[in-house]
Symmetry: C2
């Protein structure tokens, strides 16, 4: 039963399991105590810190363990902001950071600070120049992920770090998705990661703060972990995290080549096998194991459910699979299609045959979902175009309104596609919709179909999305 | 090799180990995902929450898991304070709470709020009347531990909860030391605990917030654990925590009787076997497994080191064993001797023979430490009294000054004791000391010896502690 959602959480690596079990007997005592059980626990903790620091590329005394990657990010951002409070209260982040970074930014805003979100291109990457331009005199901290968790695109960390260094702003790199593969390049100031993303256990995050970076821990005082992460240390999990990081790194170079080829196979095959698909994210500068694509006229939640029934565990940034009814902020920032979104992230060790099985199953699953939704097929779409009145010349005044109010993704786009063939070239269709996903998916549909997205019009309780037929 | 420091961290219970290992295969995925691995993880998490809630005595939807007991306390206090911010920013705590509670109070103070510490009696307990008197119109939250972590004294939680309820103030009970033994009685509003204290794994705390209690999570938003505890859930550890809580509860009643008898044996024997010892904490209203005593003229760190060499792992609230050079705030609040302090907390399953062995070893270890320090023996002390000039009548003007500046606990008290026999009844000794422990230990020595502590006098860079001989 293939599990293809390593980017959410990787199955426990065998080395992590061994290390965890082995250290349950030695790692339960308080490492601050001087008796033998405490000294043993301290030895394990110190050794784990050395191993993790080596993998991160920092000094052991620059690294603390936190209870999760989210804690590492919250503690790192709040501590770095407080350490440079005199400089100002401005935070720079990319628009596609993990929600824990954006929520830390939200907390800063609620507290009177300012946040700039640097936009990304259609591949999901920031431009180093745009990032550098966002830095201000009152910027206390900048954050950039090493690679995006939803689409796999690698960020230009090294040039952004250089730009930050040039103006004296510390850069925090969220390396959650990439640290198992390799160290982060560039002159970062703070780095965060999460063990369960590389096959370590849950309950362990890393926060590295380079010497010389101003840092003031926020929250009640606590003497654990150099005063930077409160609470009794979870030593067996920390030992397992460090041991598995070392283990996956030993396999990483070869495994990256292997999985990159499997992902290339998916990237190339899905658009051939499934009509009306957009593969997103940078095809080259990307994580080796992750690929994301979106399928027109497909309900993401139903698609995931059907793939689960077929034995494949994947995730989705479609609005219909989240509790919020809004599409993933990453897809939104990229301006790409969000409906029928599927993220495939292969755990280390994934076999070629599992990927081939996925490619064999996917087309039928997508077709089934589309059929039940009454979605237009690519063939019928082309046919309707061929027989449409557009052949007789342009008619700029022709205008059709589709009322999709109260209907959720992907219905508004399906309604648009169904009627589009009836509109003459030059005419417009206005889709009335109160679904947040339409704002992203109707322009994305236009992009995919080579039609013109004219814009949004206020339209009572919904929005009117105006599309002009140009071919 | 007996480990007698269960109050710091208990060895992993066999049920915790089994549950942890069993759930490593099923509990690593994201419980928010809808595919089978996610659903399995969610089932484990839900079942663990039900089991833990039953043991706590609350509804499952009132309970969240946190990364540690410290996190539970920090999150509980900050959330409850924020929920009642309109009422005011006053916090009531006992003077002997765990440092995580006091540090949360410190954070409130730093942020402009007010904290009242309710004093305790010599046994370590608050008086319900004194606690009730500390509640004000602007009191947002009150905190009281179920039992003290250093001396084992149980607090009057039920009457304090009643007093809080009468004026509409929520009470947070830190049940870290007692939850493995039994549920907390009384109408508490919030409750916190820590799994590694009852034999569960590290990495799991509990925070229960009764329905109807105003609560506003502080820190960046996060959807995990009802928005009350951020970060990816550590499900294998949570499962192990819940399973072991249920397991220890099944053994608790019988084990409490057995360990209570062993602790009674220690309480009765230590003063018989070791001269100049003060056993502290309530002899009856106490945790079943914990006893604390302090030995005059003994350096706590050396004592712990010698006991460790003899195979016994215990802890100490003496100043000389902490990094801060101040004695435990608990012993200070109780006004009891802090030098040569030893806390013995027996893990479940401790055998009678281990306790007997401890009682056999302790007198020699203490005598050895005292001998090396040149401490006066009880016998020589009595002899010096018999042969002292005091027999010839009172001499109120006689006054001796002992310069113990620059000398650390227990030297100032030893210097006092050495010279005391030379002072006539009615005369005084002034001990000059710059050691924080002297402030506690010289009055405690007077109490133990039946002599009069006159008070402190300013004396240049130290303090003069004035003692009058009355017998």
């Amino acid at each position: 039963m293939p599990y293809f959602d390593a980017a959410s959480s990787a199955p426990l690596h065998p080395v992590a399991r061994q290390a965890l079990q082995a250290s349950l007997d030695e790692g339960w005592a308080d490492p601050a105590r001087l008796y033998r059980e405490g000294r043993r626990a301290r030895l394990l903790l110190d050794a784990a810190r050395e191993a993790a620091a080596e993998a991160v590329g920092c000094r052991p005394d620059e690294l603390v363990f936190t209870p999760s990657g989210t804690h590492a990010i919250h503690l790192g951002i709040s501590g770095a902001l407080a350490g440079r409070r005199r400089v100002g209260r401005h935070l720079v982040v990319s628009a596609v950071e993990h929600s824990s970074v954006l929520h830390a930014g939200g907390a800063l805003r609620d507290d009177g600070g300012a946040v700039t979100e640097v936009p990304v291109d259609r591949s999901g990457a920031v431009s180093p120049d745009a990032y550098a331009a966002a830095l201000r005199e009152d910027t206390a901290l900048a954050c950039l992920q090493s690679a995006n968790h939803e689409v796999g695109t690698e960020q230009p960390v090294a040039p952004v770090a250089e730009a930050c260094r040039a103006v004296g702003v510390p850069l925090l790199v969220d390396a959650a998705q990439s640290l198992g593969w390799r160290p982060v390049e560039g002159a970062w100031s703070l780095l965060t990661a999460s063990a369960h993303k590389w096959g370590g256990p849950a309950g362990v995050g890393l926060l590295a703060v380079r010497k010389g970076v101003r840092f003031a821990h926020q929250g009640p005082a606590d003497e654990r972990e150099s005063g930077r992460s409160a609470g009794f240390e979870n030593i067996p999990a920390i030992v397992a995290a460090a041991a598995s990081l070392r283990a996956v790194r030993m396999e990483a170079a070869a495994e990256a080549v292997r999985l990159r080829a499997l992902v290339d196979r998916i990237r190339a095959s899905v658009p051939e096998l499934v009509p009306d698909v957009e593969v997103v994210g940078d095809p080259v500068r990307r994580l080796p194991h992750l690929v994301t694509f979106s399928c027109l006229y497909v309900d993401g939640e139903v698609l995931l459910h059907e793939l689960d029934r077929a034995g494949f565990s994947v995730s989705s940034g479609s609005s219909c699979t989240s509790g919020t009814l809004t599409p993933s902020h990453v897809l939104r920032a990229m301006g790409v299609l969000s409906e029928g979104n599927v993220r495939v992230s292969l755990p280390m060790g994934t076999g070629e045959e599992e990927v081939e099985r996925f490619l064999a199953v996917l087309p039928g699953v997508v077709a089934g979902v589309r059929e039940r939704l009454g979605a237009p097929s690519s063939a019928s779409f082309a046919a309707s175009f061929a027989g449409s009145p557009s052949g007789s010349g342009e008619d700029e005044d022709a205008s059709v309104v589709v009322d999709a109010l109260g209907k959720l993704c992907p219905i508004p786009v399906i309604e648009l596609a169904k009627i589009f063939g009836d509109v003459p070239v030059g005419g417009t269709v206005t889709v009335l919709s109160d679904d947040e996903a339409a704002r992203l998916d109707i322009p994305a549909w236009c992009e995919m179909r080579g039609q013109e997205f004219v814009g949004e019009r206020g339209a009572g309780r919904g929005v009117g999305y105006v599309v002009r037929r140009v071919s």
